[in-house]
Symmetry: C2
DNA sequence: CGTCTATTTGAATGTACTCAAAAGCGGTGG
DNA sequence: CCACCGCTTTTGAGTACATTCAAATAGACG
């Protein structure tokens, strides 16, 4: 199991001694996901926090018209989960799917709770991770409220270069809150502007 | 200082002994805010988490066209802050303002850090608070992506009955991501449907 | 190479916006 | 008490941004 990346991730915010590291590592389960594999389905209870070693995943909901809405993309060195479902241990509305072949590590809700109890520093770690997610989520809300579709697309391209390469256009459009057709038209417009 | 509500708020998630309660209470500063008072201005560094005993506040950004975008309303028994600025201790983009006469309690960043160090349970408490905020933020994102303006307005009326009574229409429109004129038109349409 | 899916294109439509003006609604002072 | 002021809300006409639907084109993969 390749644990270097996740240990580096944890050490960004808290320091662990050798025993604590061992306990942490022993709480993780490795998993390989092929592109397009569904990792968590809407309606199921989310049992794990998922850390991405390599690859990329997305989470999305499907509305009453059958339309997909991408809530987040997650890349190497990020965590992803249906946090509502994970907290409440009730069925969630998010589906999580690999958009590229991926290597991930799973931390189950129970193991996470044990970590909290045995090594309280992990409360701090996940508090900080959650704070950062909240900031990102609010920033996205601000973008959605104050930018045009084209501006949001430009912003997206900077932040998610890798996603641009492996995600289909309709997923990106869904994340931006527009139709694939319209995103295609934005691209054409922008290509025209380049001279 | 009226501390019953905030102690109840804390006890929802962690248990405190008498000393810990005293330490917590001694970390708080009471403050009274008149309606329309600006509590934190965009460009300033956010120094406190603010707990609302009574009243209501809103946080918002102003975009390059001078348009206001309401990020959150906060009511009695809620916490509010510019979390990005609070975490990084750098100037933030949010303004926080009272929309009704309010009684609040301030917990400074330093006092909060001391609490974390002296009583690690507070890491858990704020982890849980932050998790709940993240869930709410994601839910709002889902609404913005998948509902029409009218549906979002109906949803808003259920969740924020009190805000409906004390916030001006343009703030509500701003929260919903539409213009005040359009919200007014939605209201008329809805009134028409009522028989 | 053929099939399937993803992307592009175009025309018609709709949802929400802009701008300008009118109406409503408190407060305040004569 | 009511007349006037400033601010919020409503209305309407014209417009823009983004959607829908349908069809054409391009790409990916067995």
């Amino acid at each position: 199991m390749n644990t270097a990346l996740i240990l580096k991730n944890v050490h960004k915010h808290i320091h662990l001694n050798e025993d604590e590291e061992k306990l942490f590592i022993s709480s993780l389960e490795p998993l390989t996901l092929k592109k397009k594999t569904v990792h968590l389905k809407a309606g199921e209870v989310c049992k794990h926090s998922t850390f991405i070693i390599d690859g990329a995943l997305k989470s999305f909901t499907v509305d009453k018209n059958g339309q997909e809405h991408v809530i987040s993309f997650a890349l190497s060195d990020w965590w992803i989960a249906d946090i509502y479902s994970l907290i409440t241990q009730t069925p969630g509305v998010l589906t999580i799917e690999a958009i590229a072949d991926s290597e991930v590590l799973l931390l189950s809700k129970e193991k996470q709770q044990l970590l909290y109890d045995k090594v309280p520093k992990f409360e701090r770690f996940f508090r900080i991770i959650t704070e950062n997610s909240l900031v990102a989520s609010q920033q996205r809300l601000i973008n959605n409220l104050s930018l045009t579709a084209e501006e949001r697309y430009l912003d997206f391209m900077e932040k998610y270069r890798f996603v641009m390469e492996c995600a289909p256009l309709h997923s990106i459009a869904s994340y931006l809150g527009i139709t694939p057709e319209f995103l295609s038209k934005i691209r054409r417009r922008m290509a025209g502007k380049l001279h």
